[in-house]
């Protein structure tokens, strides 16, 4: 256990990772130890150094004592800024925050949490990952969270890649940076297409057609609440008078109990197009308060409604392996 930790923060391990591009996600809280904080001058830092050399030559040539003083003061400033920049990044704790599912094509908002347990403020911590950037400050002994919007291209799990955390505070002459890869992933749903909701199938086998007297149009009675019932259909007034939570039943409901079936889609549709269509239907059905179920070649989600049901359907679609 201890050896692992030592290994993990050793330069040899860093080198190994760098050479073999093995950037494994790190679970838990990532500690930016001094060994994994790198520091080099920025372009401006290099030109600052060049300027100092010119100033030194000028001072020598003209025997300017105060020229030496100025040059050396600025050199001292440059050297001290190395320490300040390093200190601004080292010994931070980075952990994974939350990330909500998104649809393919949108940006997944990865939230990272910085914890500054030190007795001084950290400023201008810049994050970069695959072209997305974000910035935050972490005051002394406080947490700060920063959201990194990453473009979600494909459905499925979007693993957070290696994030570069860098800072140029305070002078911009030095850049301290470190790589972190908290173990976090976002669920990416298939991108819904723009198809309309299909007509309900009049499926003879299921038999639960018009006769059951349930629909969404006309109120037809009450029955005890079931976990899958939409909150919108709860009869709050009636429930207050009875001991049970009651759900309103509507006539014609059977007409809108929908099964979204993979096999019912046109045969020439691609897998992704099918998933997009199904995702679209799930969204529309949920929007209209319908009860719907999902049939995929390898999975089936029974009839239901509500946010949790929608998420479950979309997750099946997102993780579908064709």
């Amino acid at each position: 256990m201890k050896l692992d930790r030592v290994l993990q923060y050793s330069q040899a391990y860093n080198f190994y990772q760098w050479v073999f591009k093995r950037h494994a996600p790190e679970p838990g809280v990532v500690f930016l130890s001094q060994r994994r904080v790198y520091i080099l001058p920025t372009r401006h830092g290099l030109s600052f150094g060049g300027s100092l050399v010119l100033m030194l030559i000028g001072s020598i040539n003209y025997s300017l004592s105060l020229g030496y003083v100025l040059t050396f003061l600025l050199a001292g400033l440059g050297v001290v800024s190395i320490l300040h920049t390093f200190r601004n990044l080292a010994h931070l704790y980075v952990s994974a925050g939350r990330v909500s599912p998104v649809f393919a094509g949108d940006s997944a908002q990865f939230q990272l949490v910085f914890e500054n347990r030190s007795g001084f403020d950290r400023h201008s911590l810049d994050l970069a990952c695959r072209g997305a950037t974000a910035s935050c400050d972490a005051p002394a002994r406080q947490h700060c969270s920063v959201v990194l919007p990453l473009k979600a291209e494909k459905r499925g799990w979007l693993q957070l890649e290696r994030v570069t955390v860098e800072t140029r505070f305070p002078l911009g002459l030095m850049r301290a940076w470190s790589y972190v890869q908290p173990d976090m992933r976002a669920l990416v749903y298939p991108r819904p297409d723009s198809a309309p909701l299909p007509l309900p199938y009049s499926d003879a086998d299921t038999g639960d057609a018009v006769s059951s007297g349930a629909g969404t149009d006309d109120f037809s009675g009450l029955r005890p609440y079931q976990a899958t019932d939409s909150p919108r259909h709860i009869a709050w007034k009636a429930s207050a008078r009875s001991e049970l939570l009651l759900t309103k039943l509507f006539a014609g409901r059977a007409a809108s109990e929908l099964w979204f079936d993979w096999t019912q889609l046109p045969a020439d549709m691609h897998t992704e197009a099918r998933l997009s269509r199904l995702a679209r239907w799930v969204l529309l059905a949920e929007e209209r308060g319908l009860r719907y179920g999902l049939k995929l070649p390898d999975a089936e989600v029974p009839l239901g409604e509500g946010f949790a049901h929608r998420e479950r359907c979309l997750k099946e679609l997102a993780l579908f392996h064709g």
Binding site: S63, L73, P170
Partner: protein, 650 residues
């Protein structure tokens, strides 16, 4: 994304500070820069401010290029060149302000900051005084705070100022080490521009008494003297400078200097030992009390007893000297020398020549003639003035017999002419007379206003003998200094007026400070560095040794600064430390806390596993939760928790 051309791409407060820093850096240059440069800078400044305040777009690049080209051409027409120190600095100033006109990105901010640093350095070409140093420190401070402001835009300005101040304070020790230990090389590294040394004041190689109607007294310092023993009386303080022996009727000139090793001086009495710190004056001569018997390194003495440096004095130098106030100077008395000391144009100043012939005929020897002449000056009611009337071709006649108003040059010039006309070899010696001892640090200060001219005559029995006709005519000039000789103090520089005691005390303190500044900051050269290192016990260090010393001392200082900076980096509060220690003790007993396990759950699990320790475990967890998440940390509870953890054995 905002239009990158718009002026508000950068935060306003640091931008204002950046412009302020740039303006402050350029301010000392404004006094000597060509007027059109000052005007251009002011216009650009106003333009930039207007654009920033109204968030308007900055001018187009082609316009700025045009302006830059115009600036270069303007500088060329002002100086007839764009090379050299003054044109270079002028261009730098113009570039700085033009760059401000296109400061829209962070990259531009850095360029401006570096230009400000260069301009700050260029100020030291013209003055290295304490006020200028203070001003430049202020501009560096402002510019640094600006850089901090741009790298953390959301912070209050005061925080940026504090960060910049702290960083400069930490840079201070590094600067001191580098300043004192960096291996010093005596400049210049290559040929200096022609105009590098303009503006240094000092004595001139020529003297035309009749052509000056107003002598401006400058209280700038010529040199400082530290006497080893007692200060000689004022009447002996003749600081010998250029000797003028060639006269064409209106102008005295320096004769051809002849360097000889065998300068003869007969001395008696006690010597005076002293150290001179000479301000740069861009000439070769060095000053010494009459008559010097030792020579500073890299200096020679002429047959006219003039100490000459082998290179022009272009930086402040220090040298030890020994002089004898009682001497007989017998060198430079070859027949050719004496003949030179008798030459004068006979067509001018007929009346003076007649008077001299009269003395010649009625006196027995040269000494008697000199006595007659001194008596003449003493009794003729001359008036000492710094604003004498202009004189014509017969300048000596006019001065001696009609105007009778003049300063030391008039007296010395006419006295030497009278001597030559009477057949006594004579010459004019210029230099300084007197000097004020600063009671604060004991240094004697000799100013440009103490410049003086006197005469030297050749007497066979005594060699070259000093005669000061000014002292004969106006005794207070030498006894009390120029301040007393002047009727009314209006023309004197402020600091030389003696009326106010507190002003004098202020001046003395200030000059003592300036002297320390000169000795230790400005005068810190390769010699001083060797001196200081040998005082530290390092004899004759090579540059390698010095580099090693520098490296380790800077590394040591940086380590201390790093320790100071990083002292708070691991600070976890006492409660957390105690809790972690508790968890560690349990982890060693294979009862590590699972990641998602809260403190109370963990304690419950441990209590189940270690029934004997249940009370302690639960107490620790309860205290931890209370201290960590409760409303207020009670110091007693913290101590209690620490004690429980310390005593805990799983």
């Amino acid at each position: 994304m905002a239009d990158p051309r718009s002026a508000d791409a950068l935060p306003l407060a640091p931008l204002v500070a950046l412009v302020a820093g740039a303006t402050l850096t350029v301010a000392p240059h404004a006094l000597w820069l060509p007027w059109w440069v000052d005007a251009t800078a002011a216009i650009l400044l106003g333009w930039r401010a207007a654009l920033a305040l109204r968030s308007r777009a900055l001018p187009a690049r082609w316009l700025l290029l045009l302006l830059t080209l115009a600036s270069v051409i303007g500088v060329f027409f002002s100086y007839r060149t764009i090379m050299g120190r003054d044109p270079g600095v002028t261009l730098l100033v113009l570039l700085l302000f033009l760059k401000l006109m296109e400061t829209r990105l962070r990259r531009d901010v850095f360029v401006v900051a570096f230009l400000v640093y260069f301009v700050a350095l260029s100020n030291f070409f013209y003055s290295q005084s304490i006020p200028i140093a203070g001003l430049m420190l202020l501009t560096v401070f402002i510019t640094t705070a600006t850089l901090v402001g741009f790298s953390a835009p959301q912070r209050p300005v005061m925080d940026d100022v504090k960060t910049a101040g702290r960083m400069l304070l930490q840079a201070g020790p590094v600067m001191l080490l580098l300043f004192f230990l960096f291996p010093r090389v005596q400049g210049p590294l290559w040929g200096m521009p022609q105009d590098a040394y303009t503006g240094m004041t000092g004595l001139s190689e020529t003297m035309s008494p009749g052509s000056i109607s107003g002598l401006s007294l400058s209280d700038s310092i010529a040199f400082r003297v530290k006497f080893d023993g007692a200060t000689p009386p004022r009447g002996q303080l003749y600081w010998r400078g250029p000797v003028l022996s060639d006269f064409d009727g209106t102008t005295w000139r320096v004769g051809l200097p002849q360097l000889r090793q065998d300068t003869r001086i007969g001395v008696e009495g006690a010597p005076v030992d002293y150290e001179v710190t000479l301000e740069p004056h861009n000439r070769n001569w060095m000053f010494a009390l009459e008559m010097p018997t030792s020579l500073p390194p890299s200096a020679r003495v002429t047959t006219e007893y003039q100490v000459i440096s082998l290179t022009p004095v272009r930086s402040r130098i220090r040298y030890e000297m020994r002089s004898y106030p009682n001497f007989s100077a017998t060198s430079g008395a070859e027949p050719a020398d004496l003949a030179l000391a008798l030459r004068f144009p006979r067509v001018f100043n007929r009346r003076a020549q007649g008077l001299a012939r009269e003395w010649r005929d009625s006196s027995g020897d040269n000494a008697a003639i000199v006595r007659r002449a001194v008596e003449f000056f003493r009794s003729s009611r001359f008036e000492y003035t710094l604003t004498p009337p202009l004189l014509g071709a017969n300048s000596v006649d006019e001065f001696l017999f009609s105007t009778k108003q003049g300063f030391c040059e008039h007296f010395a010039s006419s006295f030497v002419l009278l001597m030559r006309a009477a057949g006594v070899p004579a010459r004019v010696v210029t230099g300084y007379q007197g000097g004020d001892t600063n009671p604060v640090d004991g240094y004697m200060v000799v100013r440009q206003a103490d410049a003086h001219a006197w005469a030297e005559v050749w007497l066979a029995e005594n060699g070259w003998t000093r005669v000061d006709p000014t002292a004969a005519a106006i005794p207070v000039r030498v006894e009390l200094g120029i301040t007393a000789a002047r009727p009314g103090g209006a023309a004197l520089p402020l600091l030389m007026r003696t009326s106010s005691d507190w002003l004098k005390a202020l001046r003395n303190n200030w000059e003592a400070l300036a002297n320390q500044w000169n000795q230790w900051v400005l005068g810190y050269n390769p010699d001083r560095q060797r001196e200081m290192l040998s005082w530290l016990g390092v004899q004759q260090p090579s540059w390698q040794t010095m580099t090693v010393m520098l490296f380790w001392s800077v590394a040591g200082v940086l380590l201390l600064i790093a320790l100071w900076l990083l002292r708070g980096i691991r600070r976890e509060d006492a409660v957390q430390r105690a809790w972690l220690r508790f968890c560690e003790k349990l982890a060693r007993a294979d009862l590590a806390r699972a990641l998602p396990e809260g403190p109370l759950d963990y304690a419950g699990r441990i209590a189940g596993r270690l029934p004997a320790r249940e009370a302690a475990v639960r107490a620790i967890a309860a205290l931890y939760v209370d201290l960590r998440y409760g409303p207020r940390a009670d110091p007693h509870s913290v101590a209690r928790m620490q004690q429980l953890v310390r005593e805990f054995r799983p």
